[in-house]
C-alpha cells in the first residue's frame, strides 16, 4: 500500500518537478536541456502509469490512496486522496503517453522560440493538473485539476502574447470555461449539500441508497455538472472558445485542445455515471446537445480554410459524438471514441503543425497544395489519421464511431441520422483538407516552395507512432469481442450499452456508415482533385457558405447578446456611478481644503493676538464653569 502511495506521488509530482525546474532554471539550462527535462518528467509519469495499468488490469481492484484530511466541517468531510481505477488509469495512459510524444515533438517544433523553457513549464504544469483531475478521489480534488488545466490552457493559448488576437482568444477560452466551471461548482455544492460527501465511492453508495431525496435536486445537480462538461469539452452553447484556442502553438492544440483537456467533460460524466443514470431527462439533453453540436460543428468545418480551424471544428464535432454516446448511457463507447480520437486527432494536429512548420507559419490551405512529395511522412501519417476519422473500415475510428452510431440507432433514430450526416461531412472536410494541402500544385510563394522540406525526426517520430496507434487502436474494442468493455465492466455494472449482437441490422448500419464515409471522400475527390477547385477568397464567398464560413455568426450573436450589454453596463458604471462616487469624495476634499484655506488666516504670526485669544479662551472657560454651577 505504501508502495502504491509513493508511486502515485511520483506519477503526480514528476511533471510538477519538471515545471519547477523549467520555471526557475529553464533559462540557464538552455533550450535542449529544458525540453529534455520537460519530456523526461512526463515519460516517467507514463512509465508509472503503465505499471499501475498492468497491476489493475490483472487484479481488477481499484487502488484508493488517502493522503490527508482536507476539509472537516461537522459531518462534512473531504479528504485529499487519489482513486486509481480502470477509468482513471485508462485516461492517464493516453494523457501521459500522448503527452510524452507531444513533448518530444515540441522540442523540435518550438526550438526557435525564445521562451521555450516557459513553454515546457506550462506543458508540464498542464500534465500535472490533468493527472490531478483524473486521479482525484473526490469532486473537489478533481475540481483543482479542472481549474488548473483551464489555467494552463489560458497560458498556452496566449503563449505568443505579443499578438493581441491571441490574447483575446486566451481570454475568451478562460471566460467561457469559467461559465462552465460555475455550473460544475453549483453541481458540487448541491451534491455536497444533499449527501454530505464528495467522495466518488461514497457518493455512489449514497445516491444508490437515496430514496428520500427529491429527484428534482438530482436532476439539477446533473444538469449543472453537464454545464461544466459543456464548457470544458466545447459543446453548444459554450463551444466557440475551442476554434479560437487554435491561436496557441500547434503542439498545444494537439495535446490540450484535441486529445486530453477537452475530454475532461466526458471523463467527469463517466465518473459521475451513477448520477446521470438516475436522471434520464438530463441524459436526453446530453444526447441532443451532443448530436446537434456534432452536426453544427461539422457544417462549419466544411468551409473553413485555416487548416487548424478545420481540425478544431472537427474536434468539436467528434466531442459532440462522444456526448451523444454518453447521453445514451453508453459510457464505454464514448470512452472508446475518446481514446481513438486522441490518437488520430493528435496525429492530425501534429501533422498540420509539421505542414505549418514546413511553410514557415502559413495556415491557409488556399496557399498550400502539392506537399505530398516534399513531406512524405507527414502526408502518409495524416492520410492514415484522416482515414481513421472518416470511419474507413479497419482503421480505429471506424470501430469507435460505428459503435456510437449503432448505440444511437438503438435509442433514437433522429439523432442517429444527425450523427451519420455529421460523419459524412467529417469524411468530406477531412479529405478536402488532405486534397487541398497535399495534392495538385503548390499555390504558395516561390520562396516557400524553395524551402519546402520534410520536418526533422523529432517531429516525424511522434507522427509515425500516433499513426500506427490510429490504425490499430480499434483493436481494443472489436465488435463482439471487446477488451475495453471487459476492462471497464467493474465500473459500469449497469451494462449501460447492451451488447448488440452482430445481427443483420448491425451489418446494414455498418454498411451505411462506410458508404457514407466513402461518399464524403468521393465528393471531396471530385471537387478538389478532378475539378481542381480552390476555395474562394474571403470576399468572394457568398450565400449559405458565407454564413457557414462565418460560423453562423455565433460569435457576433454572443457579442451582441452578452458582450455588448456587459460593456455598456460597465461603461454606465464608469461614466455615471463612478463619477458620482468620485465627485462625492473629491467634494469632501474640496470642502476641507477651502475651510483650511480660510482657517490659515487666523494663524497670522502675531504672538500678541495668540496670547489675547488664549486669555479670552481661559476667561470663557472660567466663566462657563461658574455659570454651569
Amino acid at each position: 500500500m505504501a508502495m502504491d502511495t509513493n508511486l502515485a506521488l511520483v506519477l503526480l509530482l514528476t511533471p510538477f518537478l519538471g515545471f519547477l525546474i523549467n520555471v526557475f532554471f529553464g533559462k540557464s539550462l538552455g533550450k535542449s536541456v529544458s525540453g529534455i527535462v520537460g519530456t523526461l518528467s512526463v515519460v516517467i509519469s507514463f512509465i508509472v502509469t503503465v505499471s499501475f495499468f498492468l497491476q489493475i488490469n490483472q487484479t481488477k481492484q481499484a487502488i484508493t490512496i488517502q493522503l490527508f484530511d482536507w476539509i472537516q466541517i461537522s459531518n462534512f468531510n473531504v479528504s485529499f486522496g487519489f482513486l486509481l481505477d480502470q477509468l482513471s488509469v485508462l485516461w492517464l495512459l493516453f494523457v501521459t503517453g500522448i503527452g510524452s510524444l507531444i513533448h518530444l515533438y515540441s522540442i523540435s517544433y518550438m526550438h526557435d522560440d525564445e521562451k521555450i523553457h516557459s513553454f515546457f513549464a506550462y506543458l508540464n504544469l498542464f500534465i500535472f493538473f490533468m493527472i490531478t483531475l483524473v486521479v482525484g478521489s473526490n469532486l473537489l480534488v478533481m475540481f483543482i485539476g479542472w481549474e488548473g488545466v483551464g489555467l494552463c490552457s489560458y497560458l498556452l493559448i496566449g503563449f505568443w502574447y505579443k499578438n493581441q488576437d491571441y490574447n483575446d482568444a486566451a481570454k475568451k477560452a478562460f471566460i467561457m470555461n469559467r461559465i462552465g466551471d460555475l455550473g460544475l461548482l453549483i453541481g458540487i455544492f448541491i451534491l455536497g449539500g444533499l449527501f454530505s460527501t464528495l467522495d466518488f465511492a461514497s457518493l455512489q453508495t449514497a445516491i444508490a441508497g437515496a430514496h428520500n431525496v427529491d429527484t428534482l435536486w438530482l436532476s439539477i445537480a446533473a444538469l449543472a455538472l453537464f454545464i461544466g462538461a459543456c464548457g470544458k469539452s466545447a459543446q453548444i452553447p459554450l463551444y466557440t472558445w475551442l476554434p479560437d484556442a487554435m491561436a496557441g502553438p500547434t503542439p498545444v492544440s494537439a495535446l490540450i485542445h484535441a486529445a486530453t483537456m477537452v475530454t475532461a467533460g466526458i471523463f467527469m460524466v463517466s465518473r459521475m455515471h451513477f448520477l446521470f443514470d438516475l436522471t434520464p431527462e438530463i441524459q436526453t439533453i446530453i444526447a441532443v446537445i451532443g448530436g446537434v453540436t456534432s452536426f453544427v460543428a461539422a457544417t462549419i468545418g466544411l468551409v473553413q480554410n485555416d487548416i487548424k480551424k478545420v481540425l478544431a471544428y472537427s474536434t468539436v464535432s467528434q466531442l459532440g459524438l462522444m456526448f451523444l454516446a454518453l447521453g445514451f448511457g453508453a459510457y464505454e463507447v464514448a470512452i472508446f471514441h475518446v481514446i481513438t480520437h486522441a490518437f488520430f486527432k493528435a496525429c492530425l494536429f501534429l501533422g498540420s503543425g509539421s505542414v505549418i512548420h514546413g511553410l514557415h507559419g502559413e495556415q491557409d490551405m488556399r496557399k498550400m497544395g502539392g506537399l505530398k512529395k516534399a513531406m512524405p511522412i507527414t502526408f502518409w501519417t495524416m492520410l492514415i489519421s484522416s482515414l481513421a476519422i472518416s470511419g474507413v473500415p479497419l482503421f480505429s475510428g471506424f470501430f469507435s464511431k460505428d459503435e456510437i452510431l449503432m448505440t444511437a440507432f438503438h435509442h433514437n433514430i433522429p439523432l442517429w441520422v444527425v450523427g451519420s450526416i455529421a460523419s459524412i461531412m467529417t469524411a468530406f472536410y477531412m479529405f478536402r483538407l488532405m486534397f487541398l494541402t497535399f495534392f495538385n500544385d503548390f499555390r504558395g510563394t516561390e520562396e516557400q516552395k524553395h524551402h519546402l522540406h520534410e520536418s526533422p525526426a523529432l517531429i516525424t517520430f511522434p507522427l509515425i507512432v500516433l499513426a500506427i496507434l490510429a490504425t490499430i487502436g480499434g483493436a481494443i474494442s472489436l465488435p463482439g469481442n471487446s477488451w475495453l468493455n471487459e476492462y471497464l465492466a467493474p465500473l459500469f455494472t449497469k451494462a449501460a450499452s447492451e451488447e448488440h449482437g452482430l445481427g443483420t441490422t448491425e451489418y446494414i448500419l455498418m454498411a451505411i456508415a462506410v458508404v457514407g464515409g466513402l461518399v464524403g471522400i468521393g465528393i471531396a475527390y471530385a471537387k478538389y482533385i478532378k475539378q481542381n477547385t480552390v476555395p474562394n477568397e474571403d470576399a468572394e464567398i457568398t450565400g449559405f457558405s458565407k454564413v457557414l464560413y462565418n460560423k453562423y455568426y455565433v460569435d457576433e450573436i454572443y457579442d451582441s447578446l452578452f458582450v455588448a450589454p456587459v460593456n455598456s453596463l460597465s461603461k454606465f458604471f464608469r461614466d455615471y456611478v463612478e463619477t458620482g462616487i468620485s465627485s462625492l469624495v473629491f467634494g469632501l476634499g474640496k470642502v476641507t481644503n477651502e475651510l483650511s484655506f480660510q482657517g490659515k488666516k487666523l494663524q497670522n504670526g502675531s504672538v500678541g493676538l495668540y496670547l489675547f485669544a488664549f486669555v479670552l479662551g481661559m476667561c470663557a472657560i472660567v466663566s462657563f464653569l461658574f455659570l454651569a454651577q
Binding site: 490659515k600 488666516k601 494663524q603 497670522n604 504670526g605 502675531s606 504672538v607 500678541g608 496670547l611 486669555v615
Partner: protein
Amino acid sequence: MNNILTQIGIENYIFLCVTLFCIGIFGVLYRRNAIIVFMSIEIMLNAVNLLFVAFSTYHQDAQGQVFVFFSMAVAAAEVAVGLAILVSIFRNIGSISIDNLKNLKG
C-alpha cells in the same frame, strides 16, 4: 492655634492672588518685550502658588503645599528652557519684541 489666618483673613490672600494674577494677565497682553511677558507669566504662576498655600493652610491639609513644590520645580525648568529660547531668538534676529516673531505665519 498659631494659625496665621487668624491674624490675616483668608479673603486678603484671595484678593492679593487675584490682583497678582490680573497684573500678570495685563502684563502678558500689553507688553511687547518677551522677557517682560515671561515675567508676567511667572507672576501669574506664583499667584496661583500662593493661593494654593493659603487654601492648604485654611483646610489644614498639606497636599496643597506639596503641589506647590511640584509646580515650582516645573516652573524652574520652564524658566531655564524659556530663557534659553529667548537668548537664541535674540542671537538670531537681534530683538526680543514679540511683534517680530512672525515666521510661523500661516
